[in-house]
Symmetry: C2
Subunit: 263 residues, 2 copies
Amino acid sequence: MENLRFADPSHIRQMIREGKLQTHTSGMCDGYAQGNLVVLPKNLAYDFLLFTQRNPKPCPVLEITDLGCKEFKSIAPGSDITTDIPKYRVYKNGKLEEESTDIKSFWRDDFVSFILGCSFTFESALIEEGIEVRHITYGKNVPMYITTIPCKEAGIFSGPTVVSMRPMSPHQVIKAVQITSRYPSIHGAPIHIGDPSSIGINDIHKPDFGDSIDIKKGEIPVFWACGVTPQAVAMNVKPEIMITHAPGHMFITDIKNHELAVI
Amino acid sequence: MENLRFADPSHIRQMIREGKLQTHTSGMCDGYAQGNLVVLPKNLAYDFLLFTQRNPKPCPVLEITDLGCKEFKSIAPGSDITTDIPKYRVYKNGKLEEESTDIKSFWRDDFVSFILGCSFTFESALIEEGIEVRHITYGKNVPMYITTIPCKEAGIFSGPTVVSMRPMSPHQVIKAVQITSRYPSIHGAPIHIGDPSSIGINDIHKPDFGDSIDIKKGEIPVFWACGVTPQAVAMNVKPEIMITHAPGHMFITDIKNHELAVI
């Protein structure tokens, strides 16, 4: 695994393309940003793009392809969207149709593809600054919750904001706000700190997605807007077809995490 | 003028709507963000939105309306795009057709309206921190230059980045980078410092737009991506119709400048 940790993103994408690597991508290509994939037909792309523009904290866009183009030219030159992710999910009319290691047979010339920033980036920044990220320590998935904070509507897209939660000491909360504020294109600063019920979370130990994580005495739960939001919102609309990555099986970009920091 | 400086944005928009105020908006509603207007037909809006997404430094979007909607619901509730700017410019097929104090007679239900962030916001932040903004001191317009830095293309839209220039002492440059980095939605950090020729500016004393400004001994020219870029790029395409604000006659939002800071 160590060689994957320090591998070049284009090398890993090539291995995935050739079917030599089909695992989740956590821990690969240390220091490089990974992203969430959403592929939609052109007739939905404008509303979805407008939705991401109106809701930049849950929906931070790293790149959008040209119509029908299979390459993320800016963040991953030479990439092929149809093959370079280890596992895809194909949804039809809002239902999971199948999981697949490539989407060559599903590809259409009217597709537009979005890569959205992923919290892996700010988590690695937190860890570098000495802040424990609890779910990583315990090898679990981050706990995620559907809140009562509405997203701003855009055309046919609307829905609640989904958040991820990381518990921290008060001192770490201050540092974490500073660190993640530098990454507005990766969810940015937290959107809530403290009382879960004030954003509609009734039981912090029963996340809607991911795993429950202990909050130790004296710790404060910190909530960030989560990249599950745009997928959940797109799914609400039951598009005739939508393709995403499978959870944890991300698109690895050529962009260094620190390039995404604004300060 | 003092009463306009401390007036509420909605009050000023109302005065403009009633034809009681037809001047440029510089200095009005101290502390509130002002913005650039671009109105385009729906068939160009997707490509233009994609262009702003790919070029966030010259094209920082504050809000995009729903199709045919005349109100910026988020940044200026109750506003009316057709009346709330003191002076508009109507372009047809890339040529200035007329200037007008309202656009009621031009309005179409297939219009989409964009408000783009304006450097007034970061200039007021610079001044608050004690940095002289030379062109303001001398009551001139900021000098702007067409560079050799290409924007990323999006559909039919492409063109060079336009920059604005402010001369500063080395110490002020450092501070100005820190301050403007906090405002990624208002052009963000500078895109170049120093030698004008390396970004294709042959004569710093002959700006392409605005006024020439003295650079004193020991000062360094600092260049920011400029909101003229998206208008120039949109114009290149010679759209059948495009409506903008007239220079200096901006849309005044209800958003406080400091709300746009990420840190």
